[in-house]
Symmetry: C2
């Protein structure tokens, strides 16, 4: 595998950073190529603004259109271009982050906002009454796979089907489906550690064992079977799921998972 | 009302900035007090790091614990303290932002990550086997109300109950419930504009009329009836919703809305 690890934690001795380090050493020892985008160490700029688009930024900034022109002209900010190149290089992307306020840390959201530009990650393919782009299973990054490795402060029960915070699969859906599957990246089932607010250093041995097992079986792990947009499951042009395709009683985000 | 507007768009002549400006003028003309946190204009720092906690940052940074001590000692970074003070001052908070990759822009997520510290927004109240804090309807910001004003590039059908992107209520749940209701803020039904990628300046008149109507009826608008944590709806200590409380067939995030 050619693996890109995108890492988002400010403390090099944190659980998240230890998991990132373990991923690097485990994958390299198994003969895989690994590159790391350590966003805090890179002092990654989180906010999209006109600087990202150089001379292609219009005086009244249009984020989509300007980013698309800058992408096509090769004038995106150098740090953004470097991340796009890493994504094109990789066949596997691991995101290592703590769940902060039920989503990714701002620095990682800023990686998405800035790197996933128009014409690169969205605005790809024909947009008409009969086709709304190449997305959700197609797109620039089709064929690649991703894994979210997420630490969660609270207990697992709070994230279960009836848990007060909402099901973890639903909380991660906007990332796994909305961000990753949109430009074509398939998500493997996430590696989620719960109760990390109260985890002690002594417990890291068991965690490390489980994490290594996941890492060494990535190639044989089946991705989440999200429905592809352009292969008959959706009405056009509304892109509503056709009636009757889902198991009885399934609603919400789960509609967009097959079977 | 005392209204805080938290605004997250880089272009002062954008639709989002126009909506923010209209909110200021409309509310002030109606006799309300208004303060604005224009995050791009403030050059808001998005990434949580040790600088936020001053001398209370431990050499191995612990985000929750260190932020809680810095909050209690009054040593949080000045920009964070200023935002916490604005939140305590306000009775109403409006968030104006574009939906980028199915969530808030990174600069706004960074406002949440940095301002919603331990002991201020979480880690409030007793945590034991019989009580897991004062949250979801209780907490530091209980009694306040919020409104998300969100622009969405794509068409409304894609965000409907069967729409490919997922229902808008579910996409906003991690914000309205997970971020806002957690420290006690009730959310009014959001003001969502769809299809803004193709909206022309000519259409702004109708949009402005609808927005002004929402603004001038905020005080009489009922919030989304999320379930309160500590008033009998949840099992302890698992915080799973008790069986049978929900309407037949309701699942997922919707379980946590009453009725």
């Amino acid at each position: 595998m050619k693996t890109l690890i995108v890492h988002a934690h400010p403390e090099p001795r944190s659980l998240n950073s230890s998991l990132k380090d373990l991923a690097v050493s485990t994958l390299e020892a198994a003969g895989h190529e690994v590159r790391v985008s350590d966003l805090y160490a890179m002092n990654w700029k989180a906010a999209v603004d006109a600087e990202d688009y150089g001379l292609d930024a219009t005086s009244r900034l249009k984020v989509a259109a300007d980013s698309g022109r800058a992408f096509e002209h090769g004038t995106l900010a150098a740090d953004v271009r470097a991340e796009q190149e890493k994504l094109l290089w990789a066949d596997t992307v691991i995101f290592q982050f703590p769940l902060w306020w039920y989503s990714m840390p701002a620095i990682l959201k800023g990686w998405v906002d800035r790197v996933f530009t128009y014409r690169f990650a969205y605005g790809v393919g024909e947009h008409s009454e009969t086709k709304y782009g190449e997305r959700y299973g197609e797109g620039t990054l089709a064929g690649k796979r991703a894994l979210l490795s997420v630490t969660v402060g609270g207990p697992e029960a709070h994230y279960g089907p009836r848990g007060i915070n909402g099901p973890i699969d639903d909380l991660l859906f906007p990332i796994q489906h909305g961000i990753l599957y949109y430009p074509g990246i398939e998500s493997l089932p996430p590696f989620v550690l719960y109760g990390t607010d109260r985890m002690t250093d002594d417990e890291f041995g068991d965690v490390a064992k489980a994490w290594k097992e996941r890492l060494l079986t990535l190639e044989s792990t089946e991705p989440i079977p999200f429905r592809r947009q352009n292969f008959g499951d959706y009405e056009l042009p509304s892109l509503q799921l056709k009636e009757g395709l889902e198991p009885a009683g399934r609603t919400g985000f789960g509609l967009h998972v097959r079977g």
